[in-house]
Symmetry: C2
Subunit: 316 residues, 2 copies
DNA sequence: ATGAAAGCGCTAACAA
DNA sequence: TTGTTAGCGCTTTCAT
């Protein structure tokens, strides 16, 4: 048995002809090694877990693809589970991931994730991604939401005559805070005051963006020719609202989004947006996880903020 | 040890107070059972594998979400691996899935998948999904590509004055065959001849659809006011080509797509398309897999073809 | 109602 | 260079 093991893993000494014989018989018998058994002995499943609140979300899955590509060379498999945004389900999945003994876990944070992490002390390497958890001392990676938002709004400031409005994200999603702050600070830096702020909530959804834009348009007390939508979905909804009200984009109102999901290139007008470095987020997350898994202590407790990139298209 | 096992699994007899004590100590110690060990004993990992050629594809992931939702109640975890369309990688992943001892495997077929399956006799339950493998005797589930295409083209026939053209899918992707055949048969059923067929290849991509539409527009020898794009991505590309050439949709040219990916609702004009029953595909696939895993012999070797649904929006 | 023992498939230490 | 043995963490007989 030991010799077979050595032959199959090409570890330790084994006579060339023995090796050949082992290989021959193995393939003849259709032998497929059992990873569970192997994992029990050497303590590593070569599996990374991904806990995601919605695997139908274009941005999320684009990032997961980055994780996939980054981890594949190391021989890791990805165990992906979708909580559908349900905190109870998220807890169960978190548990299951531990039972499965994944070597590391990537968490797309939701409003409930902080509690989950607080109640555990994790022997399991965990990295939080995309939406940060300010209260948690966990390694985190995301785009620089604040900087991206500022860049977006500064572009609007340059292109528009009137103070731009914003369609902000939901209160309970952490990424919407720095994006909103970026909007405010950009206005302030542009010499505008708090009175010039115009904030509607776009809820990070198509519908929310549509309705938020409608409210901005119907208000009509102030002139409006620029909108920063805090994510692309709401930007797309806003675009549609503009059209339904008979406005042209970018001629009448300019729009800048955030994320650079695939659909932004297909709509008309194509969307100017802040691109999240999806592949790099994945790469950095995997790096951190593997470091943690190999016992390294992550020195830097500050979240890693990767720069977004302003992509100019037709909408601004 | 045995008592603890019985307590934790609530199997067999165990005195209530013993059970309570076990639970208390378990939670105090932060005990998390090891699924690998459990799997070794009882032979099931409670894990389903998904082999996908592109996990950034909106349609695919929407179907995977269906699989996720359908399998979650049974307590299954999903192991998703992305081959990035690379046959070699696909083979490796197929192997890895077996080593991981998944209880069943869902395959999104690629041109190379047939060879993969032929060279294995599978003790592993496998279901092929979305794109069918006509030559393989494997259980398969997908939308009724042919019927959907016919419905799409029949709508165009009704709304248009001239014979509609089609932007077909790639030769080596099986789903494009029945879709093309549906186009042809619909034309024939509408009293048109082979001479009325106009086929360009849209390659199932945005770019391909764009270029294909451009070719149709530039040809200009025949009047064109209707196009069946064999998938939504190419339809989106076609939409853009129309706009860039100064045509209006649907006024000048009507377009119908296939799949109903999310973006079709956001573009302008929103896309009339054939909706794939993503959730049902997932549900049926999981059903088949669990039946196979429990040792049932699948009687019906014919692929299961679920009906698509014509969704009318603005483009036709 | 509980405990002792065997064994799932593998690897690693040790001996030969 | 190969074989023997122990043990990874669990479940399942079989005794008690």
């Amino acid at each position: 048995m030991a010799t077979v093991s050595r032959a199959l893993n090409k570890s330790g000494y084994v006579k060339p002809e023995t090796l050949a014989r082992v290989m021959a018989v193995a393939s003849e018998l259709g032998y497929v090694p059992n990873r569970q058994a192997r994992a029990m002995v050497n303590g590593s499943t070569q599996t990374l877990g991904i806990l995601i609140p919605d695997m139908d979300n274009a941005l999320f899955m684009r990032i997961v693809r980055g994780i996939n590509d980054a981890s594949y060379p190391y021989g890791y498999s990805l165990l992906i589970m979708d909580s559908r945004g349900n905190p109870e389900r998220e807890g169960k999945i978190f548990r299951t991931m531990q039972e499965l003994r994944v070597d590391g876990l990537v968490l797309f944070a939701t409003p409930g994730t902080a509690l989950l992490l607080d109640s555990f002390e994790y022997p399991l390497p965990v990295v939080v991604i995309d939406r940060l958890l300010p209260t948690c001392a966990v390694p985190q990676v995301s785009v620089d939401h604040y900087r991206g938002a500022r860049d977006a709004v500064e572009l609007l400031l340059k292109e528009c005559r009137h103070p731009p409005a914003t369609l902000a994200g939901p209160h309970d999603v952490t990424s919407s805070w720095p994006r909103l702050q970026g909007y405010r600070d950009a206005l302030r830096a542009g010499g505008l005051s708090q009175a010039d702020e115009r904030i509607e909530f776009g809820e990070y959804t198509y519908e929310g963006g549509y309705r938020g834009m409608m409210r901005l348009l119907n208000e009509g007390t102030r002139l409006l020719d620029g909108v920063f939508a805090a994510n692309d979905l709401s930007a797309l909804g806003a675009l549609r609202a503009l059209r339904d009200k008979g406005y042209q984009c970018p001629e009448d109102v300019r729009i800048v989004g955030f994320d650079d999901i695939e659909a932004t290139r297909y709509v008309y007008p194509s969307l100017t947006t802040i691109r999240q470095p999806m592949d790099e987020i994945g790469r950095v997350a995997v790096d951190m996880l593997l470091k943690l898994a190999s016992g390294d202590i992550i020195v830097d407790e500050e979240p890693v903020l990767l720069p977004g990139e302003l992509i100019r298209r037709e909408s601004c």
